[in-house]
Subunit: 206 residues, 2 copies
């Protein structure tokens, strides 16, 4: 799916095909955001004016590349875990036995399907940390791209959270559901704020 | 460029190559956002429960497809207009004649380069309007995707605005620069608020 062209990806996303969906789209937007950060890092590399941060930039670029790759893999992973959920919705529930079986399969599919957006959120959080450093150390000529980058990563964080809440809402095991929601809520509260601060710091340099 | 695979696009975006940059990335994120809206429209199409909005959904889907295509074309257009700007930066400015010529070429390149993100913003505004309708008329089973969709389109709107401000800042013709900034400011103020309201309306349905 991620080997398809951007144009094809957009077309399949727009179709009624079950995948990719909101989770995969969030992971892709996160990867785009981190790639903008990497671009700023790469434009800073080898520049005399930024001689004192070259080692830091190299570390940032390495971490950023890993995060981009991981987010692209999560586009695929999100599709993988959505398929069983999509099938579970269609299971019969005429008899008590069928109903019990559907409940069991749904619960398992919902657990799987909410695990991936949690992973996407965790990667987005790491991307926000790297943008924080880039806002301070990256070349001034491309500072607007740190702003756009952190904005996209923040959107990926929020977009993934929606895909958690819509799944946990349907879980029978409320304790498990609330644990996942709590984790998502905590990341959202802390890191949307952090992303906004980085964005404002970038704007202040305009 | 948009015919490259998503993985390749991310890699080139991350590199120090001058294009794609923040403008092109914004257009792509906007297309992803509109595609999520289209997905919700396509999942609503042909569903008895939503019989009374079928005609509206068909109109939305047609407009959405056009906007997706236009945003993908703006990914290319942004790259096209950035190339002359990138070259203009490198022009010599040793003599007065060279300096005058560089100023002239830069000014023209800046005008071109700030025109495309204005177009991206205008398309994002239209996408937000379609999401507003989808939040009301789209199938409830995919309502979270309207939330993620409008969020991504809003990010595209803001991301494109950064690429306007960074260009207009360098323009000598301050009247022209302020006119463009004013247009961007107006769209930002009105439509980030509209997008936030749509997002909140979606969240309230969870």
């Amino acid at each position: 799916m991620i080997e398809k062209s951007c144009v094809e990806f957009i077309d399949i996303l727009a179709s009624k095909e079950p995948v990719p969906g909101g989770g995969g789209a969030s992971a892709l937007v996160g990867a785009i955001g981190m790639a903008l950060g990497s671009m700023v890092g790469n434009l800073t590399l080898g520049k005399k004016k930024y001689a004192d941060v070259q080692d830091d930039i190299e570390v940032i670029l390495k971490k950023a590349k890993t995060l981009q790759d991981e987010l692209m893999q999560l586009v695929l992973k999100d599709a993988e875990v959505f398929e069983p959920l999509s099938k579970a919705y269609g299971l019969p529930k005429e008899t008590d036995a069928e109903k019990a079986e559907k409940d069991r399969v749904m619960e398992e599919a919902l657990r799987l399907a909410s695990g991936v957006p949690i992973d996407i959120m965790e990667k987005a959080v790491e991307c926000i940390g790297l943008h924080e450093e880039l806002a301070q150390k990256g070349t001034r000529i491309a500072i607007s791209d740190v702003g756009a980058g952190v904005l996209f990563v923040k959107s990926a964080l929020i977009g993934a959270s929606l895909n958690i809440y819509i799944n946990t809402k349907l879980m029978k095991d409320r304790e498990h559901a609330e644990n996942i929601n709590k984790r998502a809520n905590e990341m959202l509260a802390k890191y949307t704020k952090a992303a906004d601060e980085i964005f404002e710091a970038v704007l202040a340099q305009f």
